[in-house]
Amino acid sequence: MGVSAKAFQSWRNRVAPNESTADLCRRTGIKRSTLAQQLVRGNVAVATVVRVARAYGQDPVAVLSEFDGFRGLAEGRRAPSAAELISQVPYQCILEYVLARAGADQEHPAVPKVAGYADSIAVRPWFDAVDPGDLRPKLSAATGIAPQNISAQLTAGRLATRLAVEAARQAGVSLTSGLVVTGVLQPEEGGWPPTGREEALAALTDAELVSLARDRLDALAKVLRKREQDDKYDHALLENLG
C-alpha cells in the first residue's frame, strides 16, 4: 500500500505546477507506464513519492508525512539506537573488528570498518534487534496482517512499507528506521548518521564485541546447518529418483 493517487496529484501540482507527467518521468527516471498504472489504480508507491521528492529537492520524509498513513513520520524521525545500527553491520565486518582489536596496541588502535549501507542493509536483523519479544503479534494486531505473513516477508528479506513504519512505531524506535532498512529511504534521509555504525561498534567493550560476534556466528551456523540438512534431503531425492 502506497499513498492515494488523488493526494499524490494534488501534492505534485503544488511542488511542480508546470511540469507534465513526461517531464516528471524524465527527471525521476520512473517509467511512464509504471507511473500511469499507479495513478490509474489510485495507489502510488511510496518509492515513487520518494523519488519525486528527491528529484525536486524536497525531504522525502517531510513529503511522506503529508500523506495519510504516514502522518507524524517527520516528527518521529530520531537517531537510531546502537542496537539498530549494529544490526546493519555484516558479520564479516564484526569478525574483522574482533581480530583488529586483538592485534591492536597503543600506537595502532583498532578502527572498525563497515561495508557501505547499500551493501549491508537488511530488514530481518533490524526487526530482530528492535523486537522486545512480542513485536510480531503487536504488529499484526495493529495492521491486521497475519503473523505468518509478516514472518514470510521477513524471511524473504522484505517488509511492506506500511509494516516497516508500523513496526518502528510499535517497537518505539525512530519511525524512519524501518524505511531505511528496507531501502526505501537513504540512511541520511532517515536520520542515520553516515558513520553511526562504526561509532556504535567502537563504543562496545571487548566482552560485548566478542559476545556479539558469537551470537552472529551462532545464527550463521543455524542457517548453514538448515541449508545443509535441506541439501541432504534434496540429495536423497535425486540419488534415488533422479
Binding site: Y91, V223, L238, E239, N240, L241, G242
Partner: protein
C-alpha cells in the same frame, strides 16, 4: 480414437521416451534401477496396446503368456518404485512395509497366486487385456490380483511423496516432482479401490494410464533436476551466499 486409448498411447510414448533418456546414464552405472523401472513401465504400457500385444503374444506361443509378463513387469515396477520412493523420501516404515516380512509375504503370495490363476484360466487365444475372457471368475481374480499389489505399494509411498510436495524445505522443482509422483500413486490406489466396488467403464483405462503419465512426469522432473545439478560444480561456496547476517 477414444480418450482412453489416447491416454494409453501417451503413457507408453512418455515412458518409452524417458527410458531412452535414462539409457546413457544407466550404461555408465548411474541409477540403473529407475532406468530398469522405466523400461518395465514401457513394457507394461506397451503390452496393454493391442497393436503390440497382438504382435508379441503369438511369438510367446499365443496363449496370453504376454499378459502374465505384463503383470510381472508391473510388480517389478512397483517393487522398484516402492523401494526407491521410500528411500528418497526417507520413509523407513514404508520400506519395511514393502520389503519387510509383511511386504515379502504379500509379494510372494501375489506372484504365486497370479501364476496359479493364470494357469487355472481357460485363455487359449491371444486377447489384449484378456478382454474376451472377462466372463471367467479366475480371469477376474487374476486381474484383481494384478491391481491389488500395485495399490498396496502405492498406498505405502504416496503419503511420504505428497508430504514432501508440501514440505517447503525441498526445492521447488523437487516439490513439483514429488507432487506428480505422489498424485500418480494416489490415483493407483483410488483406481483399485473403485474397481473393487463398481464397474468404472472408461475410467478403467483413463485412471491407471493417467497414473503412469503422472509418475513418469514426476520422475522426469527429478531426472532433469539431477542433470542440472551435475553441471553445477560440487561443493560450491555456500558461506559466500550468506552475506546479510
Amino acid at each position: 480414437m477414444t480418450a482412453g486409448f489416447a491416454v494409453q498411447v501417451s503413457a507408453f510414448a512418455l515412458s518409452f521416451l524417458f527410458a531412452l533418456f535414462r539409457l546413457p546414464d544407466a550404461i555408465r552405472g548411474r541409477n540403473r534401477s529407475i532406468f530398469f523401472c522405466m523400461v518395465l513401465i514401457a513394457v507394461s504400457t506397451g503390452l496393454s496396446l493391442p497393436l503390440i500385444y497382438e504382435f508379441v503374444d503369438p511369438l510367446l506361443g499365443g496363449f496370453n503368456l504376454a499378459n502374465l509378463l505384463l503383470r510381472y513387469s508391473l510388480y517389478g515396477v512397483f517393487v522398484i518404485l516402492g523401494l526407491r520412493g521410500a528411500a528418497a523420501f526417507g520413509a523407513e516404515w514404508a520400506r519395511r512395509l514393502i520389503v519387510g516380512p509383511v511386504g515379502l509375504v504379500v509379494l510372494g503370495l501375489t506372484v504365486v497366486l497370479t501364476a496359479a490363476f493364470f494357469l487355472a484360466s481357460d485363455i487359449p487365444v491371444t486377447s489384449t487385456g484378456l478382454l474376451d475372457y472377462n466372463d471367467q471368475v479366475s480371469v477376474e481374480v487374476y486381474g484383481m490380483l494384478g491391481r491389488l499389489y500395485p495399490a498396496y505399494v502405492a498406498a505405502c509411498v504416496c503419503a511420504p511423496a505428497l508430504a514432501a510436495a508440501r514440505n517447503s524445505r525441498y526445492r521447488l522443482p523437487h516439490r513439483i516432482g514429488s507432487g506428480l509422483f505422489g498424485v500418480g500413486l494416489a490415483v493407483v490406489v483410488l483406481f483399485t479401490a473403485l474397481t473393487l466396488v463398481a464397474d468404472i467403464g472408461v475410467f478403467m483405462l483413463l485412471l491407471p494410464f493417467s497414473a503412469v503419465i503422472l509418475v513418469t512426469l514426476g520422475l522426469a522432473v527429478m531426472w532433469v533436476s539431477n542433470r542440472l545439478q551435475m553441471r553445477r560444480p560440487a561443493g560450491a561456496a555456500r558461506l559466500r551466499n550468506v552475506t546479510k547476517m
